[in-house]
């Protein structure tokens, strides 16, 4: 696939093909059932039920405070860090309830990578950033680390820009490069799922386009869930879109349909910019 063929019509063609080939057969990477989420006494997610398809890009959209980021952070249990945060309901990742007792959170997070809104490279060299996840998982072999670093940076479309300066500080990179480095770092540990929390909202438009292209190229190998405030971005990169409002999942469907012919009035109002 070259980029030209992919960028615009690619989405529609693929979606159409999939629609013909029995959508029921699609494998679900994440299954969310009756998820209610609380910060202390305050409920922020209400009865969320969602299936997220394997090797698909799923976009979560909605106005600020609608709970989409919270939901994203439930998927790798990042909300565990917040005191008083509590989830009731089920979140199955690849058939395993990640909130079941006895589940190893560290293992969950290793299998589910995350990219944050603000790029957060560690104050280490580019190389040390990329291999961080592998190192903490106990990988010591230098050749294997080198190989993983190159492969991840290649996949994150950053290799050519940094191959000469792998041992320079990651903080010397530009904002867009830093974010791609964070993506490389996340995929270096070979996660099954990649969560992205507004990955390009802090970047200039050109850098943002690079991130989008990257997301597009990654979906062959990863299930991607992306939170975005940029509706065009959601329309461009995602296969399915979920619209949240006040902690509820209002509508969830194939992206083209969501953006051209939403079933709910609320979705239509949001997408056409009448509120939010």
């Amino acid at each position: 696939m070259d980029n030209e063929a992919v960028v615009e019509p690619g989405i529609r063609i693929q979606t159409a093909v999939r629609a013909q080939a029995a959508p029921e057969a699609e494998r679900q990477a994440i299954v969310i059932r009756e998820a209610n989420f609380f910060y202390g006494d305050k409920q922020v997610l209400f009865d969320i039920g969602m299936d997220i398809g394997e090797n698909r890009v799923t976009a979560l959209i909605g106005p600020s405070g609608c709970g989409k980021s919270t939901l994203l952070r439930c998927l790798n249990r990042m909300n565990d860090l917040i005191e008083g945060a509590r989830l009731a309901g089920r979140v199955d990742v690849k058939g395993r309830d990640i909130y079941a007792p006895g589940i190893d959170v560290i293992e969950v997070r290793r299998r589910i990578g995350m990219v944050f809104q603000k790029s957060n490279p560690f104050p280490k060299s580019i190389y040390d950033n990329v291999v961080y996840g592998l190192r903490i998982a106990g990988e010591r072999s230098r050749p294997r680390l080198d190989e993983a670093a190159e492969a991840s940076l290649q996949r994150a479309a950053l290799w050519d820009e940094v191959k000469e300066r792998l041992h320079e500080s990651a903080l010397s990179l530009s904002g867009g490069q830093q974010q791609r480095l964070c993506i490389a770092r996340a995929i270096a540990v070979e996660p099954e799922i990649l969560l992205m929390d507004e990955p390009s909202s802090a970047l200039d438009p050109l850098a943002a386009v690079k991130i989008e292209e990257l997301i597009y190229s990654l979906k062959d190998r990863y299930t991607i869930v992306i939170v975005t405030h940029n509706l065009q971005q959601a329309a461009r990169v995602s296969d399915k879109t979920a619209f949240f409002w006040l902690g509820r999942l209002v509508e969830y469907g194939a992206t083209p349909q969501m953006f051209t012919n939403p079933r709910q009035k609320l979705t239509e109002d949001y997408i056409t910019g009448r509120f939010g």
């Binding site: 860090l81 005191e83 990578g113 560690f122 996840g133 903490i136 998982a137 320079e168 770092r185 540990v189």
Partner: protein, 288 residues
Amino acid sequence: MPPETFARRYRVRKMTSAVMTAFCAASVVLALIPLALILFFVLRQGLPALNWAFFTEMPRPVGEAGGGMGNAIVGTAILIGLAALVAVPIGITCGVYVTEFRTSRLAPAVRFSADMLNGVPSIVIGIFAYAVAVLPFKRFSALAGGVALGVMMMPIIVRTTEELLALVPSTLREGALALGATRGRAVVTVILPAALPGIVTGVLVALARVAGETAPLLFTAFNNRFFSNRLDQPIASLTVQIFTYAISPYEDWHRQAWAGATVLIAAVLLFSILARVVTRRLERMHRA
């Protein structure tokens, strides 16, 4: 508002601003006067008394001119080295605990204790060290002095570490955890290194601070007229030596005391400069 009123009020506002600025400038000058005077007097009296022998020779008996404080300089170095050995590991660990386990009920207690300890008069800390490190062994020792100074350093390091760790963006912590790091791993591999430049500065500042302490050493390290590098024996220190010489009736000792004060101030200054250089170098490494 009519333009004349506006103009008049504007004049008043401008004047108020000028007066306040002048007041602030005057305060700065006032605050700097003691520092300038201290430096002036110490250097005026101390520099002429300084010579090479001061650094290399031992104190001479009363009445014999010359000699130096070589033993006290080495002694002070040993004492603050011991203090760092006591305070740095414990202080940094406590600082990490207080920041990383903020929700623990023990954290506020640790923080409060550190503040209390920081406020304890140094002579009391000396008595404490006397009770735990001198009495049981029935001997003044360098080790006891190191413990006393270490206890003084500890709260400074706890608080510095805590403040600097809190400055590390939480996104770094989340980034490490999202990659499957355990909490401890995230602290050791990401958060502490990110805060390191500041922590190093804090340690050096704390060292400079305790290097100038006298009271905790009076009945712990005591003093020693001879050269000693044994940790289980009394040891000389610049501060105690200055004290002893300054209250003596001998002109020659007074001169030596001034020289000692000069060396001490120079050492503290050196530490501060070192702190800055190290911090800048580490920061450059981190921020590219």
